[in-house]
Symmetry: C2
Subunit: 255 residues, 2 copies
DNA sequence: CCGGTGCAATGATCCAGGTCAATGCTGTTA
DNA sequence: TAACAGCATTGACCTGGATCATTGCACCGG
């Protein structure tokens, strides 16, 4: 039975749902993520109304602000930091279904309960909307709904990629896919040789995202280093020497 | 490297995109799936307009009607039969990302290309809409967009469940999850003991859906039979003796 | 400067599920 | 009613990645 080494994080030291900072936000028009996220679909006068529905929050690293299976009372828009979304099994095995950062929307639920948990990786800033308020907004601003649908479609495509990864890729291909994905996040589609990336998540997070163990992630990264594909820098930094070869591996087109 | 035994299906005998039957549909109001699908969101007069945009199609078993990576020109609504959605790797490894049947919508794409392929498992009936036409419809009938968003949210939740399955569940848990899912499809949430199910997909399809090999699926089913949890009937029929215990296994709460 | 705490890396061993190879079963064509 | 084709099952064996154990390496507080 595969297990997750991060299990004891939850089992041993259950984290409370603590919200550190929370203040009203009166001006969405000057919001730092105006260009991204759901808000980008709105005109200035519409943002005015949005502002009244939104509450700004700051969540410290390691804290869970959406508890798996809890009542889905709110929607969130990430305005800073990185969040991991996850699902767990009763014995502590955990699957991270995605990492989301600035501009991303969070909280679509079918039933009245969240199907996943959300935990801050680093210092995370959020814009929170109550469910009824957001529903009112959607009713009023069709462009916002359009935007939501587009984001959902996007996430669906990402989810399908991840299913292919989890169901059929080797450890090496999974790690290469993860690294290449991080490259794309930073550089877009013009990735230079010797591209640098640094990400906030630990090996354990990466393992839980890729359906592997920490040890395998570590060994596989060492393998890529020995093969001259990457260098491992201080902190969580990595230099990808040949993004092209990395992508080939990620795609499953190379051993 | 894990491999998919269905690889030669594509490699050896590439299937052409053949559409067997195709006729105009003039009356969506009497459509057999009126109660399900996107159409259920519309009033009769709206259906009238929908009818003019829709084309009915029949696709024979085994035929691919959406080619992975091809131009996303159409949207489909499944009105009969079962479709498998899949993604593949260059060497033929394949992951089935979902089975969709009557009422389900199909074809949401981020870019202008489909990110997945779609193949008919049995005789499949479809309602086809051209992309621009559907976009017009959405513009005109906000309730249809609402419906689409709801379905996307639903699929997202299902996708997350599947990621947990593929990343962290054992073979036994995966097969139990699949069977239990089939039970839910047939019976809703009131599943009686000794519930019967029969599904159109082969062991190879199940394997590609669960990230396993045909052999492991076969052995695991035999294991469940030996443990008195199921009986394997003729054709693709299975009787689930104890749905409660099956669900416990599926949830990861039992060895 | 030292001891501690929390990752990360590496080594040794194990095993769940993959691979390879028959064998069975069922339906279909002749 | 035989011969074939296409799954499905079962067995024997192998291996990629999991498990268990140790060591290394920062960064922090005293």
């Amino acid at each position: 039975m595969p297990s997750s080494l991060t299990a004891e994080n939850t089992a041993g030291r259950p984290r409370r749902l603590v919200i550190a900072g929370m203040e009203g936000c009166t001006n969405c028009a000057i919001c730092e993520v105006r260009a991204h996220g759901v808000c980008s679909a709105l005109r200035d006068d519409e943002l005015e109304r949005l502002a009244r529905a939104a509450v700004r929050m700051t969540v410290p690293p390691g804290h869970i602000f959406i508890e798996e299976g809890s009542r889905a009372t709110d929607f969130f828009n990430v305005t800073g930091g990185t969040v991991k979304l996850f699902k767990s099994l009763p014995d502590g095995r955990r699957q991270i279904t995605g990492f989301v950062s600035v501009g991303h929307f969070l909280g679509l639920a079918v039933s009245d309960r969240y199907a996943f948990g959300a935990e801050a990786i680093d210092q995370v800033k959020l814009c929170r909307f109550s469910r009824p308020k957001l529903e009112g907004m959607i009713e009023e601003f069709p462009r916002m709904e359009r935007r939501l649908l587009a984001e959902a479609a996007n996430e669906l495509v990402t989810a399908q990629d991840q299913m292919l990864l989890l169901g059929r890729k080797t450890a090496r291909e999974r790690v290469a896919s993860f690294l290449y994905g991080q490259l794309e996040n930073h550089y877009g589609d013009a990735i230079p040789p010797n591209a640098q990336i640094s990400f906030p998540m630990t090996r354990a997070d990466i393992a839980d995202f890729l359906g592997l163990t920490v040890e395998t992630v570590s060994r596989t990264l060492s393998g890529l280093r020995k093969d001259g594909l990457v260098t491992l820098n201080a902190g969580h930094g990595i230099t990808v020497i040949s993004p092209v070869r990395l992508e080939a591996i990620a795609r499953g087109g190379e051993s």
